[in-house]
Symmetry: C2
Subunit: 360 residues, 2 copies
């Protein structure tokens, strides 16, 4: 049983907001970064929420995250743009980018915005939340530092490169597909490590490319495996999807890509050369009303959800899960009953609270 | 060893073109349908090429494919459109849709076009070939009749719903990620069936949801499994991706979706109700020059390919394969040395040749 400390959302919100402010963020950016960071905790993706706050602060301290960025538009067409985030944290540049993409989708039916010179942006979903609430479909990609080997390879070449696709539902039960293109997300390895459990074959391999079930293998030079896990189960597909995320987020945007993406830990050495600026993201916002009437879209989506929810389950007692459903349940529960923060993470927050003299 | 008959590309091209003409296609549509059908054989996706010609003709005969469609734009915004294909074969409507998306991408940076009231469109890649040759990035989705169960389910709810992402390379070695969102494509089951081999665990299950290695299981009420195959290897991710394809191709476009997508075999019963028109596709065409200069895009893409191609392979003698590389090798080889057509398929072509009095 993992020890946790319960915080209310408003407690954490006020605390995290103050932390950003004390670290040089504007009011506006602090609000964006807080909302986007805490969304991970609310949705049960504990690895990407306040557990990473200290990591972001380290990056500010070593000068890799710019707390007061001058973000600019590098290139623009009617429905598209390339943004240079000026080393902003992705928690901020993601909102800036999707706000612009929403404006473009209103005018053109779709808006596509890529971001370079950015930093890690939290969970992919969070940047689509506002678009969803306004009735838009959203897509969010980011590349990340390399822990994943290509199919047929044994070198760290790709991040866990997530893809998020979000479809608004009129009843608020949005369909949200949010996945790492690796067989397992990093957070799952961390949980197994904390609980001392072996992980399934197909998630990782050791530095020699041999299969491993050791959740600490990444610290020993090991690598993660793309979705599909094995040749006969289509590991080349997971590799392909991860490549797609990297090509849009890095090659198209002008950010780094592949093994050149800078690492999240501030103490980790930077790649010895760069092929672009910072890390990159890619967003698409789509207006369903450009394609069909709102009511016909709504009706079709509700029919889709209803039919899948009521399809025959493998186990009579466990209905089929619609993508996004578990995270939504977490969200409502934690908003009401508070957020159980891992005790070690809570200790870290306490230290931050003392250092910056912000009550928690 | 499978018995094959060798045809030159021009032989097959001339034959297939005449077949469409004799079945009521215009010159223009016959040319599109021929190019798009044969691209599958050229790229080594033998299940989707001339092997399906008789299937398409059956659909024309029973009136489900309209050989002379009046395709119309149902809805349009600056960068987007919804097309009603008037029961055209997807081999034709796909080209019409991507041509429109290319025009939009030239003006707006991106063009997104969905198609409803369509039929099967061959391989997803083929519709992006022209865009690639003009230097555009392309994305192609289609839904298809239901053979795949959702994660946690045992009912046929989704097609093998392919996604294709294609990135143009200045040296012609385009990066093409083209995958069925199921663990294995239908064609792989067909090959195993012909050779009498058991298939890997994780591809299919029987009608009761029990794991199976029988390649004929679909004929016995069985189902395919999404990419990821098993709960611990992320089968919910493959389900999510398949859902994304269905939501764009069906729910957004106004076509059928989920279990309501009409089947390819003309003799198979249609679903007893419909929730949209025909089957649906979704295409995005993106102009890299809207995001950065052509030369910087080209250089980044070539660096990406070169670095991945030279990353450390699992097996010293087998370099890492770039997505699209094997299909490109097939293409060049078959264009030069001819297409080895399965003997049974060649017999079928001979019958078509006799019926329509077209020499082959």
């Amino acid at each position: 049983m993992m020890s946790t400390v319960l915080f209310s959302y408003s407690q954490l919100e006020s605390f995290v907001h103050q932390v950003w402010l004390k670290n040089g963020f504007s009011e506006e950016h602090a609000a964006m970064a807080t909302l986007n960071l805490l969304e991970a905790d609310l949705r049960g993706i504990d690895s990407h929420g306040v557990a990473r706050l200290q990591g972001y602060l380290n990056l500010i301290q070593v000068g890799r995250i710019n707390p007061n960025p001058n973000m600019t538009i590098e290139a623009e067409a009617m429905a598209t743009a390339t943004l240079d985030a000026d080393a902003a944290v992705g928690l901020v540049s993601g909102t800036w980018a999707t706000d612009l993409a929403i404006e473009k989708a209103k005018k053109c039916g779709i808006g596509m915005v890529v971001v370079n010179h950015s930093n890690h942006f939290g969970i992919a979903y969070t940047h689509l939340k506002k678009a969803l609430s306004e009735g838009f479909i959203g897509i969010s990609f980011t590349n990340a530092s390399a822990f994943v080997a290509p199919a047929g390879g044994k070198e760290r070449m790709l991040g866990t490169n997530p893809m998020c696709y979000a479809f608004p539902s009129p009843d608020g039960r949005h369909v949200v597909v949010d996945l790492a293109t690796s067989a397992a997300a990093n957070g799952k390895l961390e949980i197994a490590e904390r609980t001392g459990k072996a992980i399934p074959k197909g998630w990782v391999m050791d530095e020699n490319g041999e299969p491993s079930t050791d959740p600490s293998i990444l610290k020993k030079g090991g690598m993660m495996i793309p979705l599909g896990s094995f040749e006969e189960l289509g590991v080349h597909k997971g590799f392909g999807l991860s490549a797609v995320v990297d090509l849009f987020s890095g090659v198209l945007s002008g950010a780094n890509f592949g093994p050149w993406v800078p690492p999240f830990p501030a103490f980790a050495p930077l790649p010895s050369e760069t092929v672009g600026k910072g890390i990159g993201h890619c967003f698409w916002i789509i207006n369903p009303e450009a394609f069909r009437t709102r009511s016909s879209y709504d009706q079709a989506l509700l029919t889709w959800i209803h039919r899948f929810k009521n399809s025959i389950p493998l186990n009579d007692e466990i209905p089929v899960v619609i993508p996004g459903e578990p995270e939504m349940a977490f969200y409502h529960h934690r908003m009401e009953h508070g957020l159980p923060i891992n005790a070690k993470v809570a200790e870290e927050l306490k230290k931050i609270s003392e250092k910056f003299e912000i009550s928690l």
